[in-house]
């Protein structure tokens, strides 16, 4: 393979037909370039949307209550449905399709937080420790609410980064007491949302909130994680099952979405990812189509080349060239053109997308990138490798037909003096 003579011959024919080789190579390079740009853009879009889901675990389901809108088993519509602590126990221990549970008790509206002379109005979320995993809450210092806080009704609070900045400036907030409303809470942790959405929120133990703010055994809503599944149908079936179980407990029609509202993230997540799979396939089809056009070009050129070199091939055969050595010559040239040109296209395409990514990151760092549904529009290593493999295979494919034709050249016909 790495025979200097073969390469010498290939390069001499390429040198003789510079423009033709360039144009052929260009069509292949363009094909790969477009494939990379399309794939990169598809990835960028997908990453952008995935980022939207990144605030929560994919399998989170939220449930909240309202008034019934459908009469059920002799009960009139307009009846108020309320969750309570028994529901929490049920969801945790008996309900099917549920893994983790966090209940929430609402504190009405924003509450004034104060520390020393600093104060501000922020929102408070009461929760179970499981909420950290469900909503992917990042704790930058200290810890999140834990089970001991829950059991002992501790007045512990995890404050968002904006609250920390407002109340503490440069001071270390851990272990300090702040007043929420008129109740002192000890800061046990600071949470940080890189997307700056939840930085004005404070988290406190559900049990504490329920007791302090006079909730009795009332629960306002639930965040739960459901069993991980692969299809939308399965995900929908799980949420239907959960709705049915809650409907039975509170006697309302399971289809009554006003009595109990719910949102199953997993269905949405799977549905969205399905769309991206389809887009990705579409991109591959277009990209490969473009590539095929380039390959047909190479094949065409090689055919002409074989035709032009019929006499030379005949001479070689008369001198003892085996058919396989003739095939090797044509095939190698074809592979060389497609690989070099394709690699060039690959580098250009990947380079463009990396450049775009660089610009995008700069923009995000500068803030205000929140509206952009486009993240990291690059092509991963495996895709680049598979594109390269496709290239080499397609080069071989492009060379195969002409090479076979070359191998069939009959020396007599080639050498006839006409």
């Amino acid at each position: 393979m790495f025979d200097i003579d073969i390469w010498q011959e290939i390069f001499s024919t390429i040198r003789k037909n510079k423009l033709r080789t360039f144009l052929t190579g260009f069509s292949v390079a363009w094909g790969i370039f477009m494939l990379m740009v399309l794939l990169g853009s598809g990835n960028g879009l997908q990453n952008g949307v995935r980022e939207e889901f990144a605030d929560n675990a994919e399998n989170v389901m939220w449930m909240w209550t309202g008034r019934t809108s459908i009469p059920y088993q002799g009960l009139k519509e307009g009846r108020e449905i309320r969750f309570n602590n028994d529901d929490t126990d049920f969801l945790k221990e008996e309900a099917e399709g549920i893994e983790m549970v966090s209940a929430r008790f609402f504190l009405s509206g924003d509450v004034t937080f104060s520390y020393g002379n600093e104060y501000g109005s922020f929102s408070t979320v009461s929760c179970y420790p499981a909420l950290q995993d469900m909503e992917k809450i990042k704790v930058s210092s200290g810890r999140f609410i834990n089970q001991i806080d829950m059991n002992e009704f501790r007045k512990s609070v995890v404050i968002g980064d904006d609250i920390r900045k407002a109340l503490f400036k440069e001071e270390d907030p851990l272990g300090k007491y702040i007043n929420i409303g008129s109740v002192p809470f000890m800061v046990v942790g600071v949470s940080y949302d890189p997307r700056a959405r939840d930085n004005r929120q404070a988290y406190m133990p559900f049990t504490t909130a329920q007791r302090i703010y006079g909730g009795g055994n009332r629960v306002h809503n639930y965040a739960v994680t459901t069993t991980m599944v692969k299809t939308v149908e399965e995900a929908d079936a799980i949420s239907d099952k959960i709705r049915e179980q809650m409907a039975r407990r509170h006697s309302f029609d399971p289809t009554d979405r006003r009595a109990m509202g719910s949102f199953n993230m997993l269905s949405e997540y799977i549905r969205t990812m399905k769309i991206f799979q389809a887009i990705k396939m579409f991109v591959w089809i277009i990209g490969i189509g473009t590539l095929i056009a380039g390959i047909v070009g190479v094949s065409n050129i090689m055919l002409i080349l074989v035709k032009e070199r019929t006499r030379e091939i005949g001479v070689r055969k008369a001198l003892g060239a085996s058919p396989s050595s003739v095939i090797g010559l044509v095939l190698l040239e074809s592979i060389l053109i497609t690989t070099v040109a394709g690699y060039f296209g690959l580098v250009m395409g990947v380079g463009l997308m990396e450049g775009l990514n660089f610009g995008l990151e700069k923009m995000l760092e500068g803030g205000g990138g929140d509206q952009i549904f486009f993240r990291n529009p690059t092509v991963d290593f495996v895709t680049a490798i598979s594109a390269t493999v496709i290239l080499i295979i397609s080069g071989a494919l492009a060379g195969y037909v002409p090479a076979r034709k070359a191998a069939r050249v009959k020396p007599i016909e080639a050498l006839r003096d006409e």
């Binding site: 006499r311 030379e312 055969k317 008369a318 001198l319 003892g320 058919p323 007599i412 050498l415 003096d417």
Partner: protein
């Protein structure tokens, strides 16, 4: 060296079948210097192709160097051509982008001889043809006679048993034609069988045996002694 026994060959194009060789019986011993003559359409090129294992035959036997040549696949045919036969063509058929030395060395390349070694041997053969100084020249920079000498060097480099020359002087003027024939004669003197196809009487007259083909059969074979008479006859014309 070469034995042909009732060899037939037809070319089929569409519905037409052209019976070109109609039973050739021929024996050429080792070290002979033979010319094949005949008008166009007599089948001399076809015969040469069969002798050179460039084409199959339909019927009969062809024994080359003690081996029956029949139903060879392309790879085996290529190996035999490479080992046993050296070709010289009318239009030289040198590879245009290779210099003289590389052209001469080509048969050895197909024998997988290392580059260094085959270039060394090629130089030796070029030297024998008096073309040592032209080794680095491309064919386009050589005269017709030089090109044919390079082609002969290429035919000889693999130490063949037989040299098959198809109109070797067809593209050359008289002086260079005689030079080339002189070289072929020297080659023959070293014991290599030389077979040339020609339609020129004066070229055929320089060989030791003339085989005249007509309409696909051997019309006459003129040997050594008779050749003298033949020469005189040609001179008289």
């Amino acid at each position: 060296m070469i034995v042909l026994n009732n060899v037939h060959k037809s070319y089929v194009t569409g519905n037409n079948s052209l019976h070109v060789l109609k039973g050739i019986d021929l024996e050429i011993g080792a070290g002979e210097f033979v010319s094949i003559m005949g008008s166009s359409g007599s089948g001399k090129s076809t015969l040469l192709n069969i002798l050179g294992i460039l084409d199959d035959y339909d019927q009969g036997d062809y024994v080359l160097n003690g081996r029956t040549i029949r139903n060879l696949n392309e790879t085996n045919a290529a190996v035999l051509r490479n080992e046993l036969i050296g070709f010289v063509f009318q239009s030289f058929n040198l590879i245009s982008f290779k210099n003289a030395r590389e052209n001469v060395a080509l048969p050895l390349y197909y024998q997988k001889v290392s580059r260094r070694k085959r270039n060394l041997i090629a130089m030796e053969y070029l030297d024998r043809m008096g073309l040592k100084e032209w080794a680095d020249h491309l064919p386009s920079e050589l005269s017709g006679g030089q090109k044919q000498r390079v082609a002969i060097a290429r035919a000889l480099i693999s130490n063949p048993k037989v040299i098959l020359a198809d109109e070797p002087t067809g593209a050359l003027d008289t002086t260079t034609s005689f030079e080339v024939m002189e070289i072929l004669k020297e080659v023959n003197d070293q014991g290599i069988t030389v077979i040339i196809v020609t339609h020129e009487h004066d070229i055929a007259a320089m060989t030791k045996k003339i085989i005249r083909l007509k309409d696909g059969v051997i019309e006459e074979v003129i040997k050594n002694g008779e050749l003298k008479m033949y020469r005189e006859k040609v001179m008289a014309e």
